[in-house]
Each structure stands twice: as structure tokens, then as C-alpha cells.
């Protein structure tokens, strides 16, 4: 029996590591990354993963090995020890240093993505002049562009439902808002997620490095229709973007809407 139980405990690290190694081949790994900071997030994930994997393998193998070895002869007395001060010191200090290391390497990236002081300042879009306002509501996404004057909240604002069109290789700054409950703006390929909070306007930024159509997913429970609250982010070239904006404008004002409605 003890062979069986040891095998079970040993299979945990063995299969555990194997599934992680093979995950990419099974398409169970990160979707492609297209944002400027996504690679950094993946890198941090991997650094933690290697440190975690090391600890995981060592502890799980020790556990399985101890269970196997020390269940062999149990007719006699075991080692009589109440602990070791030295060992405690060692296994307090080493993880402490490792954990602090993990915490410190995160800070730069976090600050780059989230701190308003680090938002793009010199590009086409800035904190003061965002490309659009993304409005979430049960259960759809609406994107409000500022129109020709480049200022949000004026009469020439355009609204586009469901699709957020942005230019490629440009630092995009936009505001996230919600009409009703809490929603969350999540694009897996951008490694970007942010809750929309009622009563607040939350600025965000990203830079898409590759043209394409990406799923925009609501990542915070927002009611019965949460699962179908999909949208998409369409990344196009800069020339294409100008063309798409004029199309959106034509569409918006052709629907019987007058300027300022």
C-alpha cells in the first residue's frame, strides 16, 4: 500500500510540472500578446513560475520521499527532536528574501501601467485628450469618440456600439465608465483588465503592436447576461483608422440623428 500512496504523492509534482510544460502545445497557455506591456507581464509571470516550480518540486518530492522512507519500519522509535533553531532561521530568511525580490520586481511594471504620472504625455492621445470614452452597461459596450473637435462631452461626439477601433503602434489613452453596475474591461491579448466603477471615470492606456480583431470581455459579474457581454477591439493601421472614423461618423449622423442629439 505504501508504494501506492507514495506514487500518488509523487505524481503530484510529476504530472503537475508536465502539464505546465505541455500546456503551450495544448493551446492552454497565454494567448498571443499584442500590447507593449503584455510581454513584461508574461515575463514576470514566468519568473514567479520558475521560482514557484522550484519550491513546488522540492517540497512535494520531499513529502513523497519522507512518506515512503519513514513508513517502511514503524516498529521502533523515530528520531526524537523538537526542531532546530538554525533550520528555522534558514527557511525563514531564504523565502523572505525571495518573496521580497518578487515584490520589488513587480513595482516598475505596475507603476508603468497604472500610475497616472506614467501615462503617455507626448503622444497623440493623453490623459487630458483621450481617444475615447468606453461606456459599459448591462450588457453591451459603447465607445464614444470626441468627434472633430477632439473634446469629449461636446455636441459632435460620435458613438459606436460594440467595437472599439484604435490605431496600431500608438499609445492609446481612454476613459472607462459605466452607466449601471460594475463591469470590467478585459482584452486577453493586451493583458489588460480594469473594472469600471459607477460614479468614477477611470483612465487607462495601452499600445497595440499588431493589427487584428480582439475579443473584449466583461470580466466582472454584471448580471444574468454577463457571459454574453462581449465586444471587440479592432486594431487597424493609422490610415485605416482615419477612414474608419469617417465611416463611424457618417453612420452615426445618418441614423436620423441631428448634431447634438
Amino acid at each position: 500500500m505504501r508504494y501506492l500512496f507514495t506514487l500518488l504523492l509523487f505524481l503530484v509534482p510529476a504530472l503537475g510540472v508536465w502539464t505546465f510544460v505541455e500546456a503551450d502545445r495544448w493551446q492552454l497557455w497565454f494567448p498571443q500578446n499584442v500590447s507593449s506591456f503584455g510581454g513584461e507581464i508574461d515575463r514576470l509571470f514566468n519568473i514567479i513560475m520558475y521560482m514557484v516550480a522550484f519550491t513546488f518540486i522540492v517540497t512535494e518530492v520531499c513529502l513523497a520521499w519522507f512518506v515512503f522512507k519513514y513508513s517502511a519500519k514503524n516498529e521502533t522509535k523515530g528520531a526524537f527532536t523538537h526542531g532546530s533553531h538554525k533550520l528555522e532561521m534558514v527557511w525563514t530568511a531564504i523565502p523572505a528574501v525571495a518573496l521580497l525580490f518578487i515584490a520589488f520586481i513587480q513595482m516598475r511594471t505596475w507603476a508603468d501601467i497604472k500610475f497616472e504620472g506614467n501615462f503617455p504625455k507626448d503622444g497623440e492621445y493623453t490623459r487630458e485628450k483621450p481617444i475615447a470614452e468606453v461606456w459599459a452597461s448591462q450588457f453591451d459596450w459603447r465607445i464614444r469618440y470626441p468627434g472633430d473637435d477632439g473634446v469629449l462631452g461636446t455636441v459632435d461626439d460620435l458613438e459606436r456600439s460594440w467595437e472599439f477601433v484604435v490605431p496600431v503602434d500608438t499609445k492609446i489613452v481612454f476613459n472607462l465608465r459605466t452607466r449601471d453596475v460594475i463591469h470590467s474591461f478585459f482584452v486577453p491579448e493586451f493583458r489588460l483588465k480594469q473594472d469600471a466603477l459607477p460614479g468614477h471615470t477611470i483612465p487607462m492606456w495601452f499600445e497595440a503592436k499588431k493589427e487584428g480583431i480582439y475579443d473584449l470581455i466583461c470580466a466582472e459579474l454584471c448580471g444574468w447576461g454577463h457571459y454574453k457581454m462581449s465586444g471587440r477591439v479592432t486594431v487597424v493601421s493609422k490610415e485605416e483608422f482615419a477612414k474608419r472614423m469617417s465611416e463611424i461618423k457618417a453612420e452615426w449622423f445618418s441614423n436620423g440623428k441631428e448634431l447634438g442629439e
Binding site: 514503524n74 522509535k77 526542531g83 513587480q106 513595482m107 493583458r191 448580471g223
Partner: protein, 612 residues
């Protein structure tokens, strides 16, 4: 009334400040035996801590089955979205049994709520806290037996409201177990936010009152009623775990109670604590989305609820795991016949987990719109809380090292707890790292993480504890063979169910989505979800071995004596099962609870009460 000489050390008797009837310090009371209590006095209106513990145990196991069935329904939907569910045709005649999205949101909301508030907390603190605390410290009962009884009885309205919610219009609460407003406070936002959410809040408040009564009682009992010679640093680690848990409940729970009462007021009296201005739900303004025709106040802050909620519910995570750590420590030492490795570091690390537990709640809110500078501080505190957990794991390994391990069922489950807790603990580090959390927040990696800690961790520890203390509860052993079959199946299927959720999370799969395959990025994940679902079904079905073993052994198991495991702690000095007043002889403690394999004596263990 014969005063008994109270032995030396920190237990000097003092005769002032007495409350007669609550027990005199260092004295013995006459035993009122030989009057058989009737069924109702013995099992329903009992003030005996052992019976109350069993009441919590049985109601906890019933709710475990209920919550488990909900989990199966959730898994069914995730493997085969919108396919008619066998046996649910009566509920959804229009679709032939295929569930609705509303029903799905209700399912995962109630699965979480029931498993946390009606299964894990009652089983760990209610059942084992009640049963073990007086026995392990040598007390005849809790400090306040009647308060203890009320502690269980206040669970009855909680049960009532939680069950009632399923039958009200619109169904039960459907805002997630976290119940974030405004989704949960505004009727127009979700069907479950009609009366279901009110039932949910009422139920939660009653659970809070019950836990508070229990916690006051546990701490008082542990501090004030230990047997002579049993200093705090000689307590078994189970008792330390339960005591620190109770302190967490005392200081964190009232905040949740206050918050849930405020949410209740938002719903019933239309106050505006969590309702922001300029809300437009279902095209309704705050003037019209309140109860009846009354307008609701606005100007509140939805984020405030999240802070208050997680101020309790993060410590609650440690409430769910600290007692389990205590049980595991005891069971590992006893069945490995070796003193616990580093007793004091174990106690200190549990205290550190509890202390740090109060300043890490913000890690649930990295993407919530909270100030990002706060996110940075919460990241550091959260990462550091992994340290005491790591120390505990190393000490458990140290306990096994050089032991003489007996692979009985409780030991197997305890080893599985260590193995699973390592996984659950390590995956937490990803979530603590703020930039990584931007991506993995609310994905299946989170689901994998907390199920490894709470299901594969704490629930396995509960299984271990049931197998281990069953002889003390009923005077009989559970069947070893069936127990081992139960273990092997549970261990395999649990890992098959939860392990691949890590990879699903890395692939970006969101939790709480009824039909994720509608998105292109998730479409290829259906086969792996099918695999998980089938594993989950097997794991659920496998528990039949436990149920049969439990009830069979209760009546027909092998009869054993006071100390079947040759353990050293005090509860094994009492008869099995212990009678009224627990101990039939006077106790005197000379050492800690982990003297196994000592060269001082011929046997391989020295009971705490043995004088050398």
C-alpha cells in the same frame, strides 16, 4: 464540594470573582449522572459541547452535499452549455431542463456562499471547535454552555433565510458570493436582487451572530479553563489554530455584519451607502429603481462595500485554513510518532498569518479602481504573508522527517492536505504580484487557487479530522479499507478536477461566465472543461464511500478504547465517547502534546498527564 488542591505553576487558584454555577476554580462539582436525558434534551436542546459539535457537523455535511450538487450543475453547464440537465426538466419545462443564465449566476453565488458560510466555517470552528476545545484542554464543557447552545440556534434562522431565498420571486441572490453593489442592491439590476438578496443578507447576518457567540466562548474557554499545568505553550496546535481563528472572527466579523446591515438598509429603507449618483439601471434612474415608489438616496460608494467586505472576507480565508493547519499538525505528529517540528515557530507563524491577514484585503481589489499606490502596499504585505505559510510547510516536512509513519486514513488525508496546500499557497504568489494579477484576476487560476486551499486543503483536513477523532466521537473506528479507497479516489479526482484550471486561467478563461465558448479566444477550451467536469462528477460520486463508511461505522464500527492512536493529548484521556463532564478522573499536565519516541520511557509516547 471538595476543594481539590490545585497544582503549581500558572494555575494558582483564586477564589474571588466567582460566578456560581459556572464552575469554581480548582474545585469539583457533584456529578448529576444516572438520569437519562430524553431525545429532545439530549440531541435538540443540548447544552453539551459534544452534542452541539455534532449538530454543527451534521448540518455542515448536509450543506456540503447541497453545495456539492450545485457545483456539479455548474460543471455540467461549463462542459455542455445549454444542454438540458438531467433531472431539471421540471424546473425548466420550456427548455426541457436546460438552465437559464439567471439560474447559472444564482448557482455559483449560492455554491460559494453555502460552502464558505454554511460548510467550512461551521465544520471547522462549529463542529471541531466545539467538540475538541474542552476535551483538548481538559475542561468539562465550554465556559458558557447556554451561549454555546444559542450559537447553534442562531444558525437556524440563517438556514431558514438561506433556504427561503431559493423560493422567492426572482430566485436566490445572484450577485456572486462577494455581492458587489450596485448589482446586488438594485432590484432592476438582476432577478436575484429582488427578494433573494435580502434573504442572503439576513442569512449572513445570523451566521455572523452565531460565529461571534462561538468565538467569545472559545477564547474564554481556552484562556480560562485549561487543566492545571497546561500552559499556553503546551496546547495542541489544533487549539492554537482554533483560538487564533476565533480572534480573527472577533475582530473582523463585526465589520462584515455592519456592512451587510448597511446593504440591507440600502435595499429595505432605500438608504444610499453603496449607491453612487447618476446611476441608470435598465433605463431607470435612482428615483425609480428602489423598493415600491420610494426614491433611493444616492451619493454612496460601491467601492466601500468591497473594502468592508474584504476586510472580513480575507481574514475569513484564514478562518477557513488555520484550524485545518492545526488539525493537520496534530495528525501528522501522532501518526508519524514524532514531536511536531518547531512547535513555537508553528504558533508564531499562525499568529503572523492572522496579524498580516488584517492588512492584505486590498489584493482582491487590484483591478477594482482602487488607488494604484495602495495596490503596491497591499502587494508587499500579501507577498509577505506567504512567509509564515512557507514556514509551516517546512515544519510539517520536518515533522515527517525521521518519523515512524503509520499510513492510516487520517494520516493520508493530512499528508494530502500538505501536498495540496503547497499548490494552493504557491499559486497565490501570482495573484499577489500586481502586474501579473491584472491579467489573471478573476480567471480560472484564481478558481484553482482557492479550491486547492479550501477544498483540497481544508476539506481534506476535515476528512482527516473526522477519521482521526471519530473514535472519540462515537467510540468506534471508521473502516480502514473503505477509508483508504475513499482517500485514493478523492485524491486522484480532486487533482484531475482542479489542476488543469491553472492552465485554463493562464489561457485567460474568466470565471462566472455561463457560456465562455461564445468568445473566440475561449472556444478551444471546451474539451478540457469537459474533462474537468467528468472528473468532478467522479469525485462527487466517490464520496459515497465516505457517507457509507461514516454511517456504518457510527453503529457497527470496531469498538475501541480511550486512546486508539496512542496519542498524547488530553482528549484521549477521556472515555470514548466522553460522558457528561468529559473526564472521569482528575487531570494534571506535565508536558506538551507531542512527546513521541522519547528515549525517557519504554513506550513511544508520553501522555501529557503522565508524571515521570
Amino acid at each position: 464540594m471538595n476543594p481539590v488542591a490545585t497544582p503549581a505553576a500558572p494555575h494558582a487558584p483564586h477564589t474571588s470573582h466567582l460566578e456560581p454555577g459556572e464552575g469554581q476554580p480548582g474545585t469539583v462539582r457533584e456529578h448529576h449522572d444516572h438520569h437519562e436525558l430524553g431525545f429532545f434534551r439530549k440531541w435538540i436542546f443540548s447544552v453539551d459541547h459534544k452534542v452541539i459539535g455534532l449538530q454543527f457537523l451534521f448540518s455542515g455535511l448536509v450543506f456540503l452535499a447541497l453545495g456539492g450538487m450545485m457545483a456539479m450543475a455548474i460543471r455540467y453547464q461549463l462542459a455542455w452549455p445549454w444542454r438540458p440537465m438531467p433531472g431539471l426538466a421540471w424546473m425548466f419545462p420550456a427548455t426541457g431542463g436546460a438552465i437559464t443564465p439567471e439560474f447559472y449566476t444564482m448557482l455559483f453565488t449560492m455554491h460559494g456562499t453555502i460552502m464558505i458560510f454554511f460548510v467550512m466555517i461551521p465544520l471547522l470552528t462549529g463542529a471541531f471547535g466545539n467538540f475538541l476545545i474542552p476535551l483538548m484542554i481538559g475542561a468539562p464543557d465550554m465556559a458558557f454552555p447556554k451561549l454555546n447552545m444559542f450559537g447553534y440556534w442562531t444558525m437556524i434562522p440563517a438556514f431558514f433565510f438561506m433556504i427561503l431565498g431559493f423560493f422567492v420571486e426572482g430566485g436566490h441572490a445572484a450577485g456572486g458570493w462577494t455581492s458587489y453593489p450596485p448589482l446586488s442592491t438594485i432590484e432592476a439590476a438582476a432577478p436575484g436582487s429582488l427578494s433573494g438578496q435580502t434573504c442572503w443578507l439576513m442569512g449572513l447576518t445570523w451566521v455572523g451572530v452565531s460565529s461571534m457567540m462561538g468565538a467569545v466562548n472559545y477564547v474564554t474557554t481556552i484562556v480560562k479553563m485549561r487543566a492545571p499545568g497546561l500552559t499556553m505553550m503546551r496546547l495542541p496546535l489544533s487549539i492554537w489554530g482554533l483560538m487564533i481563528t476565533s480572534l480573527l472572527q472577533l475582530f473582523a466579523l463585526p465589520v462584515l455584519t455592519a456592512a451587510s446591515i448597511m446593504q440591507l438598509l440600502d435595499r429595505v429603507l432605500n438608504t444610499g451607502f453603496f449607491t453612487p449618483t447618476n446611476l441608470l439601471v435598465n433605463n431607470l434612474t435612482p428615483d425609480s429603481f428602489a423598493y415600491g415608489s420610494e426614491a433611493a438616496a444616492a451619493g454612496g460608494q460601491p467601492l466601500l462595500w468591497q473594502h468592508l467586505f474584504w476586510f472580513y472576507s480575507h481574514p475569513a480565508v484564514y478562518i477557513l485554513v488555520l484550524p485545518a493547519m492545526g488539525f493537520t499538525s496534530d495528525i501528522l505528529a501522532i501518526h508519524a510518532r514524532k514531536p511536531i517540528f518547531g512547535y513555537k515557530p508553528m504558533v508564531y507563524s499562525m499568529s503572523a498569518i492572522a496579524g498580516l491577514g488584517f492588512i492584505v484585503w486590498g489584493h482582491h481589489m487590484f483591478t477594482s479602481g482602487m488607488n494604484p499606490a495602495l495596490g503596491m502596499t497591499f502587494m508587499v504585505s500579501t507577498v509577505m504573508i506567504a512567509l509564515p505559510s512557507a514556514i509551516k510547510v517546512f515544519n510539517w516536512l520536518g515533522t515527517l522527517w525521521g518519523g515512524r509513519i503509520h499510513l492510516r486514513t487520517p494520516m493520508l488525508f493530512a499528508c494530502a492536505f500538505v501536498s495540496m496546500f503547497i499548490i494552493g499557497g504557491l499559486s497565490g504568489i501570482w495573484m499577489a504580484a500586481t502586474p501579473v494579477d491584472i491579467y489573471i484576476h478573476d480567471t480560472y487560476i484564481v478558481v484553482a487557487h482557492f479550491h486547492y486551499v479550501v477544498f483540497a486543503g481544508s476539506l481534506f483536513a476535515i476528512f482527516a479530522a473526522i477519521y482521526h477523532w471519530f473514535p472519540k466521537m462515537f467510540g468506534r473506528l471508521m473502516n480502514e479499507t473503505v477509508g483508504k479507497i475513499h482517500f485514493v479516489g478523492s485524491f486522484i479526482f480532486t487533482n484531475m478536477t482542479f489542476y488543469m484550471m491553472h492552465q485554463l486561467g493562464v489561457a485567460g478563461l474568466m470565471r462566472r461566465t455561463a457560456d465562455p465558448y461564445a468568445y473566440d479566444v475561449y472556444a478551444h477550451l471546451q474539451p478540457i472543461n469537459e474533462f474537468i467536469t467528468i472528473s468532478a462528477f467522479c469525485m462527487f460520486a466517490w464520496q459515497i464511500f465516505f457517507v457509507l463508511n461514516f454511517f456504518h461505522s457510527m453503529f457497527w464500527g470496531k469498538r475501541v478504547g480511550r486512546n486508539p492512536w496512542k496519542a498524547a493529548s488530553l482528549e484521549w484521556d477521556a472515555p470514548s465517547p466522553p460522558g457528561h463532564g468529559n473526564f472521569d478522573h482528575q487531570l494534571e499536565v506535565y508536558r506538551g502534546a507531542y512527546e513521541f519516541g522519547s528515549p525517557e520511557v519504554e513506550e513511544d509516547y508520553i501522555p501529557q498527564t503522565r508524571k515521570i
